[in-house]
């Protein structure tokens, strides 16, 4: 990987069933990720994906781009919710470029959107260069 490389954009569909599976796997059973009425009662536009679900999709894209390289840093602000409708699901688009390669670390610049709107603020992923298989 070299600075400036553009990585292949991935589009992931998130359904309510995915959120239920994730709730069981992660232990996060916050009803705002399952129940429309509860979500609206706290001012949300509807059922939203766990922020960590969206960040996990970033982790997935990074793994696919780098051949499962060792991640040393991963994070983001959850600036806008991913609203998941009861039917069909939401499309989360993860794009990235290689921002820098230095000191044995590859830093990726990421853009994560849903319906054309950025859902993550300052997303950041850093992997160990020696473990990249891409």
């Amino acid at each position: 990987m070299n600075a400036g490389d553009v990585l292949e954009t991935s589009t992931f569909t998130v359904t309510r069933a995915d959120l239920v599976a994730y709730a069981h796997a992660s232990g996060d059973h916050n009803p705002i990720h399952q129940d429309e009425d509860v979500a609206r009662s706290v001012g949300l536009p509807g059922v939203i994906a766990h922020g960590m679900y969206t960040l996990a999709l970033v982790g997935r894209a990074v793994a696919e781009w780098t051949g499962g390289a060792e991640v040393v840093d991963l994070g983001a602000k959850f600036t806008s919710p991913v609203v998941v409708p009861a039917e069909g699901g939401a499309q989360v688009v993860v794009g990235g470029t290689v921002k820098s390669v230095a000191d044995g670390l590859v830093t990726l610049a990421l853009e994560v959107t849903c319906e054309g709107k950025k859902v993550l603020g300052m997303p950041r992923a850093v992997v160990r260069e020696a473990t990249v298989r891409a």
Partner: protein, 135 residues
Amino acid sequence: MPVDPSLVGRAFPAPAPLSVTPERVNAFAASVGHPGADGGAVPPTFPIVLAFDAMQAFLDAEAIDLHRIVHGEQRFAYVRPLAVGDELSATLTVTGLRQIGGADIIATTSEITDAAGAVVCTGKATLVHSSGGAA
């Protein structure tokens, strides 16, 4: 009701260690479609399972409803990759607290350690608590 400002500096351990079993890793990886779900690759966000337990201990101790919490930010820094077979523990520390527009912005750090007590990763999270106007 706003969160008690004297919380800053207090630590809340997750109630129990978590064994990183193939079953747990596979279920987590499959739910987010992480590649190698059956090959034992541990997704980098997996430590949230333990950080969440520690957060829940904090919420329970302070009688804060989970459904009034929205995750504002999460960052992980890893000392080493997670591996199947790890036995992980977590302690959450409240590092900051401020109010914006009726919401509490709670900053936390969760240290995830292995069975030997070595730090595996550190998670920094911001939790947004909306009290819903109740006095």
